[in-house]
Symmetry: C2
Subunit: 122 residues, 2 copies
């Protein structure tokens, strides 16, 4: 299989996993630049995400692979993938399928503001 | 002191801290919508961030309060603050002062892409 994201082993070596073997993954929508959600990946699901070109997470609550959208239909197709300066957070630019990223039906999981009055500008 | 972000105790009660007493905080730039960085806050620094209107983190490596920009001059002024559906990640929309958010001198900590060729679109 040709990887969707042409990553190198050097890239993978930059990723730093925490004591649970997980790395934080921020998901941002291509075009609108809305931050949709943050979830966690282990080394296997990072690799699957890059190989398959869709986000695959590790569910901490269920302790299982969480192939985003397999149940809801709201898949996320990865266009670009970044890692931060210390390698412990990833950023995926995605095309969001369906209603959105959040299980509540909202497009973004960050739909509640402190104070309640802020309008999301992104 | 009048809080910059008019949060309520209900908002603060929504925040879920991990086993280390920390919550993930994504910082996004107002206007460009660039994701600048991700770091961690404890209950005290969440409160300080909202009260003072600038980001204050908890440094896991130094195990101390990290008042972003006190050393570098690159402060982040908070315009909006959000919490996600399960309350374990925060999102701050900020005005970034100075060179940028990253200690490397880059504007965003996410300046390296898997495959090395992706241009940040945000």
């Amino acid at each position: 299989m040709v990887p969707t994201i042409a990553f190198t082993s050097h890239d993978l070596d930059q990723v730093r996993y925490n004591e649970h073997g997980l790395v934080a993954a921020i998901v941002q929508e291509l075009g609108t630049n809305t931050v949709l959600m943050m979830a966690w990946m282990n080394a296997d699901t990072v690799r699957q995400t890059l190989d398959e070109g869709r986000t695959v997470f590790w569910s901490r609550s269920r302790q299982e692979v969480w192939r985003k959208g397999d149940t809801s239909g709201d898949r996320q197709f990865v266009h670009q993938a970044f890692y931060d300066c210390d390698g412990d957070t990833l950023l995926f630019m995605v095309e969001q399928e369906g209603r959105g990223a959040c299980h509540t039906g909202e497009r973004s999981c960050f739909h509640r503001s402190f104070g309640g009055s802020a309008e999301r500008s992104s």
